[in-house]
């Protein structure tokens, strides 16, 4: 019933994101000259600049290839979705690494003991509609029966201000670890609103892990500044965000 509304609002969100980007000083020049190459930031710089709570996926050649394919404008939709899903899976697996665990000892079939660990129960995912939903399948593939909440953040067309118009969570979300999923962060405004909603529902800032694929330094700064205890995991920190992600993934471009 709300399908059409959601899609239109989402388009608003995305266009406002890109608008926000062009407004920000350092990048304006970039958008005008198409042949400029901008390198992404490397892990040590990030640790220094944004603190320990922003983590970057270990960028091996394989991940670099995935990023390249997703960024390439000549990638077909089928390839785009395929490789985006692969990257999402890796980001989700890495996000799960941030969850708390306890030591655990098990007996193996050979009769020996293995010192392993056990994740605590009581986690849940929250996706930000629409592009965050692209990451739900990746989470489901890792945690089969995990509860998933949803947030719809709408941008005001005139003021570019983001505001939450829909949120549905598990009742006991306050006592859970929350994996917040949103693939593209240009300004960070959407995520700010989403985290605020979660906090309103009683989720402590330190219990939220943000899973993200592409993040701009501005967005990173905004979010880290606003929520210093929030854990952020992203695969790339690059001044230009691939804002076509949601449209190409869902095929509404």
């Amino acid at each position: 019933m709300a399908d059409s509304t959601i899609i239109t609002t989402e388009n608003h969100v995305e266009s406002s994101d890109s608008n926000g980007e062009t407004h920000s000083g350092s990048i304006t020049s970039v958008s005008n000259t198409s042949a400029v190459m901008i390198a992404s930031l490397k892990a040590p710089e990030i640790l220094e600049e944004y603190g320990p709570n922003l983590k970057l996926l270990d960028c091996n050649s394989q991940v670099a290839e995935l990023l390249t394919i997703i960024r390439d404008k000549n990638t077909t939709r089928s390839d785009f979705k395929f490789y985006a899903d692969r990257l999402i899976r890796l980001v989700i697996e890495e996000s799960l690494n941030q969850l708390p665990y306890s030591d655990c000892r098990v007996e193996t079939p050979t009769g020996a003991t293995y010192d392993g660990l056990k994740y605590q129960a009581g986690n849940c995912g929250v996706s930000i509609i629409r592009s965050g939903e692209a990451m739900e399948q990746g989470l489901r593939d890792c945690c089969r029966s995990i509860r998933i909440g949803k947030i719809l953040v709408e941008s005001d067309a005139d003021t570019h201000e983001a505001r939450v118009v829909y949120a549905r969570f598990p009742d006991d979300i306050a006592s859970r670890q929350v994996l917040l999923m949103y693939p593209i962060m240009s300004t960070g405004n959407t995520v700010l609103q989403a985290v605020n909603v979660l906090k309103e529902h009683g989720v402590p800032e330190s219990c939220i892990i943000l899973s993200n694929l592409f993040c701009t330094p501005i967005a990173a700064k905004t979010v880290v500044g606003a929520f210093p205890k929030l854990k952020i995991l992203t695969s790339e920190l690059h001044p230009v965000a691939p804002n076509h992600f949601g449209q190409k993934y869902f095929g509404t471009d």
Binding site: M37, N74, G116, Y119
Partner: protein
Amino acid sequence: MSGEVTMPHNGIVCKSDILKKIDSTEMPLIEQPVKKLPSVTISTASVSKSSTSSSSSSTSSHISCTADSGIGSLIDDRSDLTEQLFVDPNLYVDIGNGDYCCPASPTTVPGRIVSSNSLESPARTTPSRPARRQRTTSVNSQSTTANPAECIIRANNRTIYTAGRPPWYNCAGQQVEPFVIGVCGGSASGKTTVAQKIIESLSVPWVTLLSMDCFYKILTEKQHEQALLNEYNFDHPDAFDIDLLVEVLTKLKEGRMVEVPIYNFVTHSRESKTKTMYGANVIIFEGILAFHSPEILKLLDMKVFVDTDADIRLARRLKRDISQRGRDLSGVLKQYLTMVKPSYANYIAPTMAHADIIVPRGGENKVAIHLIVQHVHTQLQLRGFKLRETLVNSYKDQPMPESLHLLPPTPQIKGLHTFIRCRSTSRDEFIFYSKRLIRLVIEYALSLFPFKTTTVETPQGVLYEGKRMGSRKICGVSILRAGETMEQAICDVCKDIRIGKILIQTNRNTGEPELYYLRLPKDIKDYKVILMDATVATGAAAMMALRVLLDHDVPEENIILASLLMAEIGVHSIAYAFPKVKIVTSALDPEVNDKFYVIPGIGNFGDRYFGTEPSDDYL
């Protein structure tokens, strides 16, 4: 037509010998009585298989008769020919190394062109009909000569075929040079019989028999006409492509895979298809001019000359050519006198001087064959084929090799390991969590391939410097059975990837790995290969699989061995033997127990994944 010409020397008689032997040696292993084979297909196949090869004795023997048989056989009635020519490929039993034990050369059946189409034609070879005898083949003596039903051991719902290929390399992964026996002798002297008797008495599990007949030169049109008129000399050294022969034999001796040409004696050219053969512990090379080339002589470790009386050889030829091919006495005699006999005197008999052993009377000479077999056994023992125990006991307390790439030990990976290692994990969870772990291993393995930097345009209008994989040609090879569990993950990650399979099982008698089955993508040498096995304990199976890949000319540096769990000992062995192979695993365990399980380990990964654990009732 088969009955009257069946020669006494091969076929059913020897087969039943082997059957007896297997019965007596293998029976004690059987914990449950051997049941009748439940599978109809297998038993049918075995019946027809044994009968095709056994009846092969009825077809002709030596090649020199091909030349003269030309005209006579053109008159042969067609249906008869069809029976000889069309061999239903389904009737052959796969002998484990991926090739079929069908005769390589369509030996002596002229008069009709064999095309690959006609081979697949619905003409059936019924068990009672004759087929060609095996000329060139990689033979596992047990599996090919015995009825397959007899080589099966059933215990605890496990079916073991006692017929894999044992290691053909030493514990450093290097090729152990096979023992090459050359068998020479005049036409119809019984070379093949001697070769077969040697194979049977050796009871070495893996023997390759290479016949010189495959290396006849392609005839020009004029020569082809001569051949039809019985005027082309097939017994002359010039009739053979010696260069190709040397190349093939050299490669076989190095243990490499070779493509042996299939010579078509009707068109006198090579067929487009070739026969794939593998190096073996023992290679037997037979041919009328086996000792003619000095280069080949150098390759032979033992030279056997079969010296059968000229009268007997002529008698055999006459009998064969006249009764089997409907040729007339004068024609056969003419060819014998003008070409076969002079060639024997000029080119074959003098090579007797090179022989180490001369076997008078051919295959009937049991004492000579016994002597040969004893010598070969001594030689094989000197070369040493014991593998697994050597692997377990070496390389203690050494730093881990550089070629090992361990996944970063994140809590996530440790958590997954906790699930799949726990003995009380249900199969549902076991499969789910091992799949997740496999996916991570495969993703990590892929990152180790070479990448090159590229620049792409983005929809945002800026250029982006990224990476693309250097080569798109990647294929996965799984070591059955546990390695198969990793195939899904690699298919999920690489679109349209080609998957090869290798079946290696441990022989419960010797504890040694044995190679049973092999299917690899064509041109695998051009691919980057991810070799997958769920667990690596001593590394014996992985080493065998790596050796197989190397034998198929895959460069060592193009191989990644991916595994969920490895024992340190296995990593050391593999890294020592194949230093350029990248080893990827998600966990490293310190020990291997006396049953070659990793400690603490996962248990039997394949059994847990596929749900074939022996239940307590059967223990």
